[in-house]
């Protein structure tokens, strides 16, 4: 009669409260000029100046060793900082991927030289990273990717195409997954390797792909014999699949997987109050949205605790992402039901801009970082469906 999953509670200690208040009061100032459109981007919004300031305050690479520019704080402290940033819709994109994914990868598997060079840059907010995984013919079936790295004198030559690379046009570096072994048909997830790629390399071209919002921060990146020196291989040649999968598993239960639409709720509450629309429908919908948010946060914190204890709750993390994505996708529709706003984006109206942005962005929430279908497959397998 034991449940087939583990979610022991994690209590955030009171000692974290000063940090929370510090981040909160910083954001109260910083956010005063942000438009609703900007807030909507949140962790995909690219703002180098903001990232430099966050770096100055010691909130990038918080858990990394001081020797590499880190601040040797706990995962719980980082969680508190991150959730405060996301609740405000802060533009984290210029440091987000480096802080969450690339930095930890380099710390874990990089060479001493890579750590010395890249980690302090990331922690200061000076180096932005993008992630080169998907290709035109390889989305969920990542093991079919074809972009290739060929060994040459002193390094590798990259050729192929990556797509859906968020902010590639603004980033300094990419960590890209390339085929170094035999062909995709024969080797699948074997024979893949990760490389640190300077986005200014010759032979590398970035072409914007316009998304539903009309913006081009998704990109296609073409590699035409791009040279990467030997010392920019990350980890072990041929082990790229396992290395990249470990990154994905870690990111699945973080607050960015259920909070993407959060900043819309407080604005909607104010509009409901201003319009005297706080009726039974509004009360029920807002109350229901709050209870789901509180429990998603409890689940996410539980996974944080399990990770800190050295466990890898892959099935549980996938569960939280599936629930969380559905939740953040529902929020703009809930607000539409309650406010029934005209389908217009009114400049300088925060609510209107944010709602307009989110309505046009939520379809990607259950795609990025593993589609809902892939996640449900992982969950089903974890539950023993054979």
């Amino acid at each position: 009669m034991n449940p087939p999953f583990s979610f022991s509670p994690l209590q955030l200690p009171d000692a974290l409260e000063p940090l929370r208040q510090e981040v909160r009061s910083f954001l109260a100032d910083a956010s005063s000029q942000w438009s609703g459109w900007k807030i909507g981007h949140s962790w995909t919004g690219f703002d180098r100046d903001f990232s430099l300031e966050v770096g100055r305050r010691g909130w990038i690479g918080m858990t990394w060793p001081a020797a590499f520019g880190g601040h040797e704080r706990t995962g719980l402290e980082r969680y508190v900082m991150v959730e405060e940033m996301l609740a405000a819709g802060a533009p984290l994109g210029a440091h987000w991927f480096g802080d969450r994914q690339s930095g930890p990868l380099i710390l874990r598997l990089g060479t001493e030289k890579q750590r010395q060079h890249f980690l302090p840059l990331i922690a200061r907010g000076e180096a932005s990273f993008c992630i080169g995984l998907s290709e035109p013919d390889s989305g969920s079936d990542l093991a079919s990717l074809r972009s290739r790295a060929t060994r040459v004198d002193g390094g590798w030559r990259l050729s192929g195409r990556k797509v859906w690379t968020t902010n590639a046009h603004l980033c300094d570096f990419m960590i890209g997954l390339f085929r170094t072994g035999g062909p995709a048909e024969a080797e699948k997830h074997k024979g893949l390797s990760q490389f640190l790629i300077d986005m200014r390399s010759s032979g590398l071209e970035v072409r914007p792909i316009l998304d539903l919002t009309g913006e081009g921060h998704f990109n296609e990146v073409t590699f035409d014999g791009v040279f990467v020196p030997d010392d920019m291989l990350v980890g072990t040649e041929g082990e790229g699949w396992a290395q990249a999968s470990a990154e994905l598993a870690f990111e699945r239960s973080q607050p960015d997987r259920y909070m993407s639409s959060f900043p819309l709720i407080p604005l909607a509450i104010d509009a409901i109050r201003d319009n005297a629309q706080a009726d039974r429908l509004a009360e029920r919908c807002i109350g229901g949205a709050l209870s789901e948010l509180v429990i998603l946060r409890e689940m996410s914190l539980s996974i944080l605790g399990q990770l800190e204890d050295g466990h890898s709750p892959a099935k549980e993390a996938a569960l939280v992402k599936d629930l969380g994505n559905t939740y953040e996708q529902n929020i703009p529709e809930l607000v539409r039901e309650l406010l029934d706003s005209a389908p217009r984006i009114v400049p300088d109206n925060k609510l209107s801009e944010l709602e307009g942005f989110l309505v046009q962005t939520v379809p990607t929430f259950s795609l990025r970082g593993g589609t809902r279908e892939i996640l449900r497959g992982i969950i089903a397998k974890g539950l023993g469906l054979r």
């Binding site: 955030l12 709720i265 407080p266 209870s291």
Partner: protein, 357 residues
């Protein structure tokens, strides 16, 4: 880990063993016909289950809610046809108020009653579970000065009402009091707020639903792995796998929510915890029942399969002690009474303030 946690785990283990060995279709049907299985009840009392949260002077183990959550969850996971949860909760309320806990089944009313100058009780609760099978009933009554009292009444002093038809067909009856004397009464503890015992019953039902949901998830996985159609177990089909994964999400969230509400009670914040848990778990129970029946085909509707009993329990519990709609509305009203900027603060303060151990 404290010794209390060991008692908690030991107790959960004993409940699991006892209910696993005794609860079956016949016992469930017997309860639906209004009969309490006295031998099972005697074993439950012998284990000290119903007094687990009472003080040691009342023969209890003084367990906190979070420590007793596994016992409550297991009573739901077995769809136990006995009032373990009701008596456990009623005994805790009596013990907290300093009233000696009587032996036998104790029912619990959730509406507020009135107490006159002579200490006589009047009022009505439209549906009290296991009332006719109980020796005593516990209720909260307000006196003319507006003070709340925990009252213990003997059911033999009450009119014997006819049983009510409910979705889960567990015994249930209307409690009518018109100037009834109490056996004992005491001022209600400060933890009994505006809603009386409702948040506690809502938490109990949330936890029991979490247990039932976890059990129907296990039944569904087992069925999907063994039921063969089109030449293979239906669990091989992606369509079924995705239904089961979705069900697992509901069951997992319910479990987290039930324990969350229990922790909130221990931290002195019963109402917010109950509102969050009951609104979420009741809603997810509805979705989970639909999913599980879809996987089971029509097998789950027959009373030859235990899913039949779990489904009706879930439909009962989701509506008892405040439905998802009622608690969501109450929570939403509270949120909408303040500017939107307060919402995030509410969320970050919504973690129980004290730790379990």
């Amino acid at each position: 880990m404290s010794s209390e946690m060991n008692i908690s785990e030991m107790l959960a283990e004993q409940v699991n063993r006892l209910l696993g060995a005794t609860v079956n279709r016949d016992l469930r049907v017997k309860a639906e016909n209004g009969m309490l299985d006295s031998s099972l009840w005697a074993e439950i009392e012998n284990l000290g289950l119903t007094r687990a949260m009472c003080s040691e002077s009342d023969g209890g183990a003084d367990l906190r809610w979070a420590e007793c959550e596994p016992v409550m969850r297991l009573s739901g996971a077995h769809a136990a046809p006995v009032p373990i949860g009701e008596t456990l909760l009623a005994s805790w309320i009596l013990s907290s108020a300093g009233i000696k806990v009587p032996a036998g089944v104790i029912a619990l009313a959730t509406t507020r009653f009135a107490m006159d100058g002579q200490g006589k009780i009047s009022g009505r609760d439209p549906g009290v579970s296991w009332l006719n099978q109980s020796g005593h009933v516990v209720l909260i009554a307000t006196d003319s000065q507006g003070h709340d009292h925990v009252c213990l009444l003997q059911t033999s002093s009450l009119p014997a009402p006819a049983g009510l038809a409910t979705i889960d067909r567990q015994p249930c009856a209307t409690l009518e009091c018109d100037g009834i004397s109490t056996v004992q009464k005491a001022p209600a503890p400060a933890s009994t707020g505006e809603l009386g015992v409702l948040p506690y019953v809502a938490t109990l039902r949330s936890i029991q639903m979490a247990g039932a949901l976890s059990q129907i998830l296990s039944l569904t996985i087992e069925y999907a792995n063994t039921r063969v159609q089109f030449g293979r177990p239906i669990g091989k089909f992606q369509a079924i796998q995705h239904l089961v994964a979705s069900l697992a999400g509901k069951a997992a969230a319910a479990q987290v929510a039930g324990l969350y509400a229990a922790r909130q009670i221990d931290a002195g914040n019963a109402e917010d915890g109950a509102a969050i848990a009951k609104s979420l778990v009741s809603r997810y129970a509805t979705e989970a029942c639909a999913i599980t029946h879809q996987v089971f085909g029509a097998i789950g509707v027959t009373d030859e399969h235990s899913l039949h009993f779990y489904t009706r329990r879930l439909w009962q519990w989701r509506a008892e002690a405040g439905s998802d709609h009622w608690w969501s509305g109450r929570l939403g009203k509270q949120v909408l009474s303040q500017p939107g900027s307060h919402l995030w603060e509410f969320v970050t303060k919504a973690q129980p303030a004290t730790t379990l151990h």
